[in-house]
Symmetry: D2
Subunit: 361 residues, 4 copies
């Protein structure tokens, strides 16, 4: 991540991670351990882990060593009373998130969540910083409706994020009417221990529980607009096919896209190549140099080779070509744990700091 940030706030804000021991939780720890704007002050996890040191509680699954500054931190329970930080990154699974996340919001915390529970609530912004930062404007309505002093901000399903990023400039310029989306998703998307090796070695599983409806509806929400304090979903239709493949990190997505009118593939390519995303999302500590990178190689993007582009925050796009049924087809690939989960939340939090949505503390 870029550490030289012209807009750096005066002092580092204290943050907590909920569900800190799992795969996404560990990714949060990695991204926040030396963050220029945030101080990783507290780690929380399930009852089973609470009270242990983080080094004891978490089975660290990266190749990098567990950051020394974090190893000795005591794991706290996922309870608003136990957490003093006001900014809370949640990697809780949906059963734990169901009650915990509203409790934190009620207690005045801003919860940046990866759980699926509240994503589709009309008053919960589902945000990709470069794509729809304006959706954050509904937080006032959320607070009012729910009587919260805090808030919940969601960042969506990992495959939906990877698919939506390249659609943003296309929808903006040409208007999308239909998208058939077929994913080949990495095993890290299922967390740890996640997918048993006996199920996936040398295999493809053409099914991920509950995934396709999430992809279909979240893509419409990400690319929707705000009006009158509520989010209008984009009007295009989506059909998703979700598959698990024996890849460690990186979701690959094939898409056939129908546009409002006839457009050449080269124009779509140019729209992707030129896009920089929302101006307010640029130059943040976690912003990649480019949110979208257009590859000119015929056989790219490839997850094993390109997943770390832009420190895992860049979605690589390739094979933009005419579609015999719709208008264009293309392939997109991005890091599901970083761009699709923890990194997305952190970038959203940075955006909220810049917008003054996290207080001026």
């Amino acid at each position: 991540m870029t550490t030289d940030t012209p807009t750096s706030p005066a002092r580092r804000r204290r943050v907590a991670v909920l569900g800190a021991t799992g795969a996404v939780g560990q990714s949060f720890v990695r991204l926040l351990a030396n963050h220029p704007w945030f101080e990783l002050a507290e780690l929380a996890a399930s009852e089973r882990s609470a009270g242990k040191s983080y080094a004891e509680a978490a089975r660290w699954i990266g190749g990098d060593p567990l950051p020394a500054s974090v190893a000795g931190m005591q794991v706290l329970p996922c309870d608003p009373g136990a957490i003093t930080a006001d900014i809370v990154f949640s990697a809780l699974d949906s059963s734990a998130a169901e009650d915990a996340e509203p409790a934190f919001a009620r207690a005045g915390k801003t919860v940046l969540t990866n759980a699926k529970n509240y994503r589709m609530d009309p008053d919960v912004p589902l945000v990709i910083a470069e794509v729809n930062p304006q959706h954050l404007s509904i937080l006032d309505a959320q607070r009012k409706a729910r009587g919260w002093s805090g808030a919940i901000v969601a960042n969506g399903n990992c495959a939906a994020i990877v698919a939506s990023l390249p659609l943003a400039p296309i929808h903006e310029r040409f208007g999308i009417t239909k998208v058939v989306t077929m994913t080949m998703q990495a095993v890290s998307g299922a967390g740890y221990p996640g997918v048993p090796s006996l199920d996936i070695l040398g295999n493809v599983i053409p099914y991920i529980k509950d995934e396709e409806p999430k992809i279909e509806v979240e893509m419409q929400k990400f690319l929707g607009s705000v009006s009158g304090g509520t989010i209008q979903h984009a009007g295009f239709l989506v059909s998703a096919h979700a598959n698990r493949v024996p890849v460690e990190h990186g979701h690959t997505v094939c898409m056939s896209i129908e546009l409002e009118s006839r457009v050449e593939a080269a124009e779509v390519e140019r729209a992707i190549a030129e896009w920089r995303g929302a101006e307010e999302a640029r130059g943040l500590p976690s912003s990649p140099e480019r949110a979208l990178l257009l590859s000119d190689q015929p056989d790219q993007p490839q997850p094993r080779r390109q997943v770390n582009t832009g420190h895992g925050m860049t979605v690589v796009v390739g094979r933009v070509r005419a579609d015999p049924i719709f208008t264009v087809k293309l392939v997109a690939m991005g890091h599901n744990v970083i761009r699709g989960a923890a990194g997305a939340s952190v970038l959203n939090a940075e955006l909220m700091v810049r917008r003054g949505l996290l207080g001026d503390r």
Copy 2:
């Protein structure tokens, strides 16, 4: 393969395999070594191999031992003058097939080919035995037009075969208008040595050279009709996305299908479950009990687990469900080397024997 075949011809016909040392060639050897109707009489390969014993010339890549009856056979050159058999299975690559296959046909041989060269010629039948056996009727026109005493019969791209089989009953009953097809193809589809492990271990390659146009057009030809001695391609549109995945054998295909009118997924499921394919293709030595098997498991078909269903001749279909854009979507999976190549050719030859198209010798 079933060896008890009520319609068994009076005596075994002598057959040859061209390109016998490669991956598909080896599959032919395996399927023909103890075939009830065919006697594997001759093996031919490139100059480099000619003159050697088959055991020396071929790097046998299966787990099963090289059939003893074949090990000592001398490899012949791919030259019609060197081959006495009248039925010739060709596993030649396209550069070798270009001249050799017409030369064999001119010399009176019936060539059952896996090469791409002549598949799309209007007078060359492209046949899946259970789907379009009536396409063989254009052979007369082929012989007349080309002045051949022999013939070329093709069996198509492996992914196109796997995709077309489940579409056959759907098109027959409901009429298909559009299909978006995304494949996840096994490495054996690229032959041997084929895909370098450095390229595919833990990776997905969203590109296979020249594959997508083949899939798109061959699906239309397979499901086309014969009229006036020529084949009319099916009128539906196809858009294909071809991907390589780290799977040994078995191509998995996701499809979104638009039908002529609104149809429930359950009706499509029933059409697949009930289908038995052309009557004349049943009960042949290589016929599987069912050409299509409908799985009721939510996470099937899976290549590593089900690729050998029906001795590799059955395409397993699952996840038939409504499509938010088109009418239905589903997943199909079949063995690319057997159902998609060598086994398909052998079944076609058996069909031709039954039809009396291979002489009454």
Copy 3:
């Protein structure tokens, strides 16, 4: 499995499987569903599964369909009072086996166990049918010492079995003094769900908990002798290195072996090639044609290609060559779930039937 067995007993004996829902339990179900000598009468598993149908309780992980005769059987609790069969195959994990197995033996059942708990007890025979059937003779002592009417017979760690089989003829003819053993073990050895894909995809884990001491001592027990009603461990030294590799089934073992005197590699090869194992273990329903198969290919044995040799009951041996430090080195590979677990137990039970150790027929 061979079904034509000259020594077939007059009637099929009723058998039960404990721990029937796990990976080894499923392998038992597969091997016993149509067994000529045994009738699979009862399935037992943990509290969680008891009362459900087997189809509901077990997540069937093979590519083959769950045998119809078994799908509807009700899962029973692992309690001797609930089981009427006198022959009990145990796939329980060690925590469940600790109390349950002696309870079954006390209740008069013969328990053929895969658990590690009692393997090293001096009065428990640890048997590979072809290698040390004579160890069964200590069962009298076991019954007397423990006051059991039943018995426990163990079949050892999967890697130890694969390693010990090729050592049997070598030790018999030449006398082994030292063995360094290095394993590359398949993921199915850890059961299901077992090894997380995130841990093993594209990786090697040079460690398997508690595995090395088991291999070291069990090899000595398998190749030991019986004298005075007790088993004398073989006197050779063993050093084991256990590794997990991304292979589905099949443990591969490299060994450097020191013999009592100088012996040519060719003589060792001949001893392996000629060996047929104990005469009483031949021709049983689960006996492979050969317990050891010597490959003459320079790059064999290989798990993915050869694991099913002899229906998974044959250990394939290759690369027998001189060792610069000891006498010879070689590579052995066998199916860890079949030869190394369920198949080994079934073969042991067949041997006991033949020996009249399972009551009169």
Copy 4:
């Protein structure tokens, strides 16, 4: 790589890479494209590539982009007359190296080679910079004997390097008498295209052509001493078992080691932990912070997770424990393309610059 090097020479030396298009050649390009001491001036490859731009000639196989400074360089023939640089890194395969490398040495070039051809010649130093830099002293004898103004310096087989590094402190302190070595080698060790995916997906190949004798004898040479202008091989015996596993990068090596006298595993562990290697090899641009890193995790080292430790120049060692036959056993893992090939050569060249063996600056 560290770029802040106190001993940096006054000017960058021009260097060439032979065999620049292959896998090891590409690694050289990566390491040399921005090297503080060397200027990558010339790239040479086979006839087929000569004359093309490097971007055209090389199929770039990394995930990182091809360095822009290199993409447009014209590939030259592997001919001393075509190369002006005096320092030549060779990634030629052995058939090309046979004639080319002596020709370059005769023409006054210093050739740092990865080919196997001259490694075992008594007057060719086989060097791991931290282990045996003193072996470079035989270059005078080499030049005299061969009448060369240039020289050949070799860096050994990749598995032998990874195995020898942890043995260096052990041999130095305790004296090694015997080593049994079992390797699990990554596919990148076979170059590109190298190992076909059909051979290695979900498989282990317990054989690598010609590898075991290389490992056995090179380990003795690396740890040998110089006396009277010649190298005395270390006197310990080595037995090697070489295996290929489905891992991208990183060779893992299990070793059972006999020492001259009884030593506790903890003392061996300490020797490894404390070792820093030859002083003159420290602080060079390619020197890792530590050549050996001792892991305290029970299941490490692991290639996928730790292969890039020290930018691929650190060998990670774990599981040091008592051996029931010899004295200790352990596991070592290192990056075969960097520490085992290109990085090793570059470090050797840096060492030679510091020693003044590459002309004045």
